[in-house]
Amino acid sequence: MATTCILSGWALECAPPNRIFEERNLSEIIVVTSGKGGVGKTTTSASLGCGLARRGKRVALIDFDIGLRNLDLIMGCERRVVYDFVNVINGDCTLKQALIKDKRVEGLHVLAASQTRDKDALTEEGVQRVLDELNSEGFDYVLCDSPAGIEKGAHLAMYFADRAVVVVNPEVSSVRDSDRILGLLASKTRRAENGNGGVKEHLLLTRYNPRRVASGEMMSVNDVKEILGLDVIGVVPESTDVLAASNSGVPVILNDASDAADAYEDAVGRLLGEQLPLRFLEERKRGFLARMFGG
């Protein structure tokens, strides 16, 4: 028989809510995050930003991937970058000078990441100043494209967020890493610290392959939803249109003939509170000829 000895009642101090009042933001700050790299955060940020702006919202897309700027490429504005996020923080230029206006969609703006290797280029105070200014400039949405990992850049991308779009691939390491991120969202953010309801979290499952889900080779949206316990804001199918979109610098949501675009458009609707059924969960029926001759 094993004897069990329990020492309990060791009370640890719990941080009291230090600030009770809520910092009201006119602009809603949404972080697009994942933990694991290469799952589709930048692709998602670009498309959600475009989609929100197409619906008449004023949107600022901020690339937090300091040292590895990429959102500009996906947005197709890489040659128009003169000033970046760190320049604004350091006062080298005004925010207006650094914001790149999209030429296709009215109301859409990009703030590029700096290519500096200085890890301390972003500061909490500096990021807050930029977000406050975007707020007073009347932006409706600020989308923060987070770098991978759980280091400083990822921390600052989520710190001021009101909402989080957690981008996940139906694959074990992506799901596990996103759960780490959920833990950080629930503790290491301004909303968590102030005890005012925390960050609202949404699951965006991407690179979804309905055929492999059907054959039991890939976890389904319900599997991932169940493990993480999140509401689903979108399921984006694996699509060759995404590579074509990044090749040409046109966010995939702007491709009228793409399932991935429709899936992102639905996600935008759900972000705005629309109730829409999930689409593209089943393999698209192929025509007779395609089945006979297709690969």
């Binding site: 069990t4 640890l12 074990v172 080779e217 169940e226």
Partner: protein, 85 residues
Amino acid sequence: MGLLALFRSKPSTASIAKERLRIIVAQERSTRGAPDYLPLLRRELLQVIHKYVNVDPEAVQVHLDREEGHEVLELSVALPDKQGG
């Protein structure tokens, strides 16, 4: 699940993935937000206990529970049946 999966004897890799994730995520959530010193505390406790009793590493469990306003750290040590000395 597809028709094919019905005829398979082995569970699909997707269901294996789901089961593994369910376990590891639950485990990681239970230690989430716990102070970083917990693993070290657990190791040192184990060393101290070892001076007196020969216990398994798994026999020392450290749990942090949150109740309103305060946190409770629970240490549980499963001692072996017979104690030498």
